[in-house]
């Protein structure tokens, strides 16, 4: 239930979590904001120093605990603030993507992209496209399966 005057929000949002690197993509999302590029509101952004900081298990954890979609965004390859963190991210996340079906998770619910601090427009189109994609998939079935599985929800990784 929403916190605002006790009513549900007017549009049914889905739960999308974004992990954004501080230097490029978080800045890109800021640039989109400064430019007033309107976007769907579903996404909640978690700031990380580098896409290389995103443990693939964060993504799995989120999707298995009921997130409808997870988006990871970092600096473009060869343009990482930490010189090669995003290259590690690319390798890890690509493997994760291929592994998701094994866990019974639709791989379309996860995406990783590259957005630089100046690419506000690219951020807007990426968020909009990903949100639309998740809405097309609908709410995650993981919730029904896992809702009462206290171990998965409360337990650590």
């Amino acid at each position: 239930m929403s916190v605002v005057d006790g009513k549900e929000p007017s549009v049914k949002e889905l739960r999308i979590i974004g992990f954004l690197c501080n230097w490029c993509s978080y800045g890109g999302a800021d640039t989109a904001g400064v430019s007033r590029f309107s976007q769907p509101t579903d996404l909640r952004i978690i700031r990380v120093p580098c896409s290389g900081r995103v443990t693939p298990l964060f993504v799995v954890k989120a999707l298995m605990s009921g997130a409808d979609g997870v988006l990871v965004s970092g600096c473009h390859p060869r343009d990482c603030h930490y010189s090669e963190g995003n290259l590690y991210a690319r390798r890890r996340l690509e493997v994760l993507k291929r592994f998701l079906p094994t866990l019974g998770i639709e791989p379309e619910r996860f995406e990783y992209i590259w957005v630089s601090a100046s690419e506000g427009e690219r951020w807007q189109t990426s968020v909009t496209a990903f949100t639309e994609r998740i809405h097309a998939l609908g709410p995650s079935p993981a919730v029904k399966v896992n809702r009462y599985d206290a171990r998965l929800v409360a337990g650590g990784l």
Binding site: V3, E13, F37, S38, P49, G52, R53, K61, G85, Y88
Partner: protein, 660 residues
């Protein structure tokens, strides 16, 4: 924990589309939150005072501010909580402006989202721990890369400020592009006469060490303690002996070497000194044109050199220097003229770049300052200038304006008239951009006093006709096509990033934009800083700029370096990785993964192998944390627990809200 939440209205920037009072009311119910209020401007003086008072009166030991992006004010609020006696890392920000109020249209949804973002900030803060910065000594020497006018200015200001300054220049002389110019706008004073004394100062300053014909091979370390490897390229002349007498160049039989200083207008000798005012005034051999290297004979220079400075066996040499800060002033390069086939670039010898034209006008240039067509040496009676060649041209993905072409084109039109008074001058332009001091007046002079024919329109083609060049284009003011006959066509070719700048950016770990120009830390408030602490920018490497702007930026960068060096010790960012030695099994995967070499192998007291973080080298990316299979290495302030607290709340809230 006692957490205080401050929800900023930012005037109407946030409050216009987010119900800030409702967000604060909701936050009041969050775990461990003892105070949640909304405030008109959290960053203002009264806003910050309210936070300090709340910390003192309510005994807060953690603060969340929901306002703009942390990239804007995180540092501000960290200082605020520190003034109230809290550790600066017991603070979190929720970005409800750039990520909420400015991008979402529905106030209800925005309020909902803002509340969530405040909540995850609270969840993370509950796991925050006070962190303390360590301090380290600063090496008060500065490295300046590139010795054009911006680099020269930065180096002289640093050296005058008492700093030991290392200057690395890629070519055999300092001076950069400005040394190639004939005159400068809007004063039409001799470029090298203005610059020359500064070049001499640079060479003679006792605090400055100059490496010409040298490049940056590698840079490691961090602010205050960089280690730089400089590759000194072989010149085949011992510069310790060379007196710059020029006898070798006079006698050199190979006169077909490309003359880079003269922008390939004309040829030079295989051993040469680029121009009379060159600093250092030393000869160097172009091995690709030298008969000794090509055919293993000649050696005339070695015979005539009075001081026996010629050394055909010389090799590249790498020297190391330690510095505490770096000023990058590598300038720009013009785009390749051959990309502009429609204007005859690279096809017709009488189509030249603006910089080639500067050399043709210059008294120290290949024609001795006599204007001559490169094709047959005749004096031109009509010169056409085409502006915006490769600038503001979306068809080649270059939307940028080079900024200085309008001005130098007007200057060259004026100079053309002073060289050949009866020569016609025509300028094809799109718009005239002359916003500097005395600039628009200068354009007027070119048009009125020097009778330059300004045609507003683009040129469609340049083609040979009756032994001259026909320039066809549109005259958009008259609404017609127009064709002008020219003896010489000068292209105001757009400025691009200097050759090799992307490689350099990777060595320095700074970013560059779509055109290859280096990115400043903030477009307005941090124009000379980069995102790598201790690396500063000066001049056209950040984007095309004219001489006054380059000089100003050189001085600005020097000022930044001196401010940095005004402290004896610097504080390191404590947001670094830390090894839990109990969990570490010594696999050293982290050591192999770390992009900065910030992890070393150590022996524990029981003789087992452990990883250890070198805190002053760690940059805090967290790549190691993900690599570690035993959760033994954690990035402080971004630990698994902190990030999972955010994930867990978001998923849990969803499940609670979703219908059964």
């Amino acid at each position: 924990m006692r957490i205080g939440v401050f929800v900023c209205h930012c005037g109407t920037n946030i409050a216009g589309t987010v119900d800030c009072a409702a967000v604060a009311a909701a936050a009041q119910q969050f775990p461990e939150v003892v105070l949640a209020v909304d405030t008109p401007y959290a960053c203002s003086e009264p806003g910050q005072r309210a936070i300090i008072e709340a910390i003192e009166q309510k005994g807060l030991n953690g603060v969340v501010v929901a306002s703009c992006t942390p990239r804007m004010h995180e540092a501000t609020f960290r200082r605020t909580v520190e003034r109230a006696g809290l550790n600066r890392y017991m603070f979190e920000m929720a970005n409800i402006r750039e990520h909420v109020s400015w991008v979402g249209r529905d106030k209800k949804l925005n309020t909902f989202k803002a509340t969530d973002l405040v909540r995850i900030a609270v969840e993370k803060l509950r796991y925050n721990r006070p962190l303390t910065a360590k301090s380290f000594a600063v090496n008060k020497r500065v490295l300046v890369i590139g010795a054009g006018v911006a680099g020269i200015q930065a180096a002289l200001d640093c050296a005058d400020g008492g700093l030991e300054t290392i200057v690395v220049e890629r070519t055999s002389t300092v001076g950069g592009k400005m040394a190639k110019l004939d005159k400068t706008f809007p004063t039409v004073d001799c470029s090298v006469c203005v610059l020359g004394p500064k070049m001499v100062d640079l060479a003679q300053h006792r605090k400055i060490k100059l490496y010409a014909m040298s490049e940056i091979a590698d840079l490691s370390g961090y602010v205050g303690n960089f280690e730089v490897s400089i590759r000194r390229k072989a010149t085949y002349v011992d510069w310790n002996k060379c007196t710059g007498c020029g006898l070798c160049a006079d006698k050199c039989p190979s006169r077909k070497a490309p003359d880079h200083f003269n922008e390939l207008v004309g040829r030079t000798t295989a051993i040469s000194i680029p121009f009379p005012q060159a600093i250092p005034k030393k000869a160097s051999i172009d091995a690709s044109s030298c008969l000794h290297f090509l055919k293993d004979r000649c050696g005339v220079c070695a015979k005539v050199c009075p001081v026996e400075a010629i050394d055909f066996e010389q090799q590249d040499e790498v020297v190391k220097e330690s510095v505490g800060a770096v000023v990058v002033a590598t300038g720009f390069d013009l785009l390749d003229i051959r990309r502009f086939g429609q204007y005859g670039g690279g096809r017709f010898p009488d189509v030249v770049t603006s910089l080639q034209y500067e050399r043709m006008l210059s008294a120290s240039g290949p024609t001795g300052g006599h204007l001559k067509c490169p094709s047959d040496g005749r004096e031109p009676k009509s010169v056409v200038f085409i502006s915006c060649v490769g600038s503001r041209d979306r068809s080649m993905d270059r939307a940028i304006c080079s900024g200085f072409c309008c001005m130098y084109t007007a200057k060259q039109a004026i100079l053309t008239k002073s060289h050949v008074p009866d020569c016609e001058t025509h300028v094809f332009y799109m718009d005239i951009r002359a916003p500097g001091k005395g600039y628009d007046e200068f354009i007027r002079r070119a048009q009125e006093e020097y009778r330059t024919n300004y045609v507003r329109g683009r040129v469609s083609s340049v083609y040979p006709k009756n032994g001259r060049l026909a320039v066809r284009g549109a005259d958009t003011l008259l609404g017609t096509q127009t064709e002008v006959m020219a003896d010489l066509v000068v292209l105001a070719v757009g400025a691009g990033a200097a050759e090799g700048s992307r490689d350099l950016a990777e060595k320095l770990r700074i970013s560059y934009d779509a055109y290859g120009f280096f990115m400043e830390s903030h477009p307005k408030l941090k124009p000379v800083e980069t995102n790598t602490a201790g690396v500063f920018l000066a001049g056209a490497c950040q984007g095309p700029k004219d001489i006054p702007a380059s000089v100003a930026m050189g001085s600005a960068a020097a000022g930044k370096v001196m401010a940095l060096f005004s402290k004896e010790r610097l504080e390191s960012d404590p947001q670094v990785a830390q090894v839990n030695a109990v969990r570490c099994v010594g696999c050293l995967k982290c050591l192999r993964t770390c992009p900065f070499g910030a992890i070393q192998e150590v022996q524990a007291r029981d003789g087992s192998t452990k990883a250890q973080v070198i805190e002053s080298v760690c940059q805090g990316c967290g790549v190691c944390t993900v690599t570690c299979t035993d959760r033994a290495i954690e990035l402080q302030h971004f630990t698994d627990n902190q990030l999972l607290a955010e994930v867990n709340y978001l998923c849990r809230s969803w499940m609670e809200k979703s219908p059964a």
